[in-house]
């Protein structure tokens, strides 16, 4: 386990390096940061001052190493919109994003586990067709449209829940449902196929033939084992979850990192864009690692590999 951890952590380094390189190239080579930062009324003199202040008159590799050195100190530059360092602004938004992500994972799990089990145990029944059909529909529906429809129904027509913003639990319900439904659709499908495969295994037949109650067979043997592939594939869903969160946060004006990033992109506030992209990527990589560790802990067979 320790060997695995060390190796995985070491593998993160080149990935992070590549992310910084890509962000750097995109911002400094393809675009013109000076034009992005200056207003339209700036004079040539303003340009020259800014170029020197940013060190843009230096060779490109020197600029990159400077960028990296600053980055190690957590310095992504100053946001021109907030006139403050970019990283703290991004980190300030992190708890709200976490809150939404956790709430939607709970929603997804609560929906997907019972539906996945039901659909597998009652294979090819009307219920199964209905559940798998809904899962496909959940995948086909753009999450932001689902969000808008939920607002229309629960907030505008019924007036039961707030339209947007962050506050109490009531504010969390619609965004979490929006984001959770897409994940639940994928998860239901996974649990179903994983359960179906396991229900055909020999040890299930053994459990049944020794007269074990069907419910115990399903829960004690089949369901537990069916979670192993689900955990791995769910880890890959983290990046989908974050992609969905960007849009869900915007639809509901949820004050998370996604909302901040989209605003920064629209206003070309590149310091915030860089800081947010870096922080979010790091979170995705870490959560993938965490899932890998969980996977090894759940499945004892992995120890031998």
């Amino acid at each position: 386990m320790r060997k695995f951890l060390v190796r995985s952590l070491l593998q993160i380094i080149p990935v992070l390096f590549l992310i910084t390189l890509i962000v750097f190239i995109l911002v400094h080579v393809t675009g013109d940061p000076v034009t992005l930062m200056l207003s339209d009324t700036a004079t040539d003199e303003d340009r020259a001052i800014l170029i020197q202040a940013l060190g843009l008159d230096q060779p490109i590799h020197v600029q990159y190493f400077k960028f990296l050195a600053n980055l190690f100190q957590g310095d992504f530059g100053t946001s021109f919109r907030y006139q403050e360092p970019a990283l703290p602004i991004v980190l300030e938004r992190m708890p709200a994003s976490f809150e939404l992500a956790i709430a939607s994972m709970i929603v997804a799990t609560v929906i997907a586990i019972p539906l996945g089990i039901l659909s597998a145990t009652k294979r090819n029944s009307f219920l199964d067709i209905f559940i798998t059909g809904s899962a496909v529909l959940g995948k086909a529906m753009p999450s932001f449209w689902l969000g808008i429809m939920l607002i229309l129904f629960f907030a505008v027509q019924m007036g039961a829940l707030p339209v947007s913003g962050k506050g109490g639990l009531a504010n969390l319900i619609l965004p979490a449902l929006t984001l959770g439904t897409g994940v639940a659709a994928e998860m239901t499908r996974l649990i179903r196929s994983s359960m179906l495969e396991i229900l055909q295994q020999d040890y299930i037949r053994t459990a049944r033939s020794k007269g074990m109650m069907e419910r115990l067979v399903v829960y004690r043997h089949a369901f537990r084992n069916s979670l192993i592939p689900v955990v791995t594939i769910m880890a890959l869903q983290t990046s989908h979850l974050i992609g969905g969160a960007l849009i869900t946060e915007t639809v509901f004006s949820w004050p998370g990192m996604g909302n901040l990033l989209i605003q920064a992109v629209n206003q070309r506030d590149m310091s915030i864009v860089q800081a947010a992209v870096f922080v979010i990527s790091l979170l995705v990589i870490l959560s993938n690692l965490l899932a890998d560790i969980c996977y090894r802990l759940i499945d004892p067979r992995m120890k031998y590999n």
Partner: protein
């Protein structure tokens, strides 16, 4: 494993063309399609959307970008105050929602298709070289792919769009440039197993060049998996395009896109539900059709899945 010359011609023919005992593969394909209810439904939906996009100028009752303030926010025709000349109502600038949905299908299909072609080209080339040549090239290309996979696509798109500014061509390349990893991995995996097969060893033994082996012997065997992934990928690309246009970073007005319509409609949700509802239904049905068709193609074209099902 021995590679002998006399079996080369036989296996090669088998791999590149349909086996002889099935006289008409196209007929067989359509027979299977009609048997699968979802597959047929998927094809029907996709055909309808394609026709909608092609015939939008003749089908649309109004000019999709012509504003008419006198007729703003008219409800659909079956509601009170609705007018039969605007069956699905009008939006905040008095533009006909039905006409905009018809024209919007053009953008969705265009972006979906082109972006998948760009992604497929990049991915297939990287996958072929990575799998065929192996060694350090493979290591570098696959680590790059891993790094791309580790970062959510949408982050890349946002950075590129922030720098380049939104436009139709940028959008297509951005979507293509960020979605090639699936193809690269799939193709590399296939190539690794195909290049050990006898017909490839045979081709090499008779002195075929690498380029010829890749294009004549390996590529045709990757096509079916490629079609399956591409079809499903068009579905996700259409959703991504709609999302970016919704965020104001994709298609820009006056071009009509379903995502942009949703974004307009969202502001008038309290009074006019129809503006945001119908474009969303259009996206969902289109994507659903493509998923159905893609699932059917996967079941018919992917021989490994078929073997698993037979078991």
């Amino acid at each position: 494993m021995s590679s002998t010359l006399h079996i080369q011609t036989q296996t090669d023919a088998e791999a590149t063309t349909q086996p002889r005992h099935r006289p008409n593969p196209i007929l067989r394909f359509f027979r299977l399609l009609l048997k699968s209810k979802t597959g047929a439904l998927g094809l029907l939906i996709v055909l309808c959307v394609v026709l909608m996009a092609l015939l939008a100028p003749t089908l649309a009752p109004h000019d999709p970008v012509k504003t008419n303030v006198a007729k703003r926010l008219l409800p659909p025709m079956w509601q009170e105050k609705g007018k039969p000349e605007h069956p699905l109502g009008t939006d905040n600038l008095g533009r006909d929602v039905l006409s905009r949905i018809l024209y919007g299908s053009q953008i969705s299909l265009l972006v979906g298709f082109c972006a998948v072609v760009v992604a497929g080209l990049i991915g297939v080339i990287i996958g072929l070289f990575s799998g065929y040549y192996g060694g350090w090239l493979d290591a570098v290309l696959m680590r790059t792919t891993d790094a791309f996979l580790a970062i959510p696509n949408i982050l890349f798109m946002l950075v590129i769009l922030a720098v380049m500014g939104p436009s139709l061509v940028t959008l297509i390349f951005v979507l293509g440039f960020t979605n090639w990893t699936t193809y690269a991995r799939m193709v590399r995996g296939e190539v690794l197993s195909i290049k050990e097969r006898d017909f490839v060893r045979g081709a090499r033994a008779v002195g075929a060049s690498d380029l010829r082996i890749i294009s004549k012997h390996i590529l045709p065997n990757v096509i079916s998996s490629f079609i399956v992934i591409s079809t499903l990928s068009v579905a996700t690309t259409i959703i991504l395009e709609a999302s970016l246009s919704f965020l104001g970073l994709g298609i820009q007005p006056p071009d009509v896109s379903w995502g942009g319509m949703l974004s307009d409609g969202r502001q008038y949700l309290a009074t006019s539900w129809w503006v945001a509802t119908f474009p969303g239904i259009a996206i969902t049905i289109t994507v659903l059709g493509i998923i159905f068709l893609g699932d059917f193609l996967r079941d018919t074209l992917d021989p490994r899945l078929k073997a698993r099902k037979a078991k």
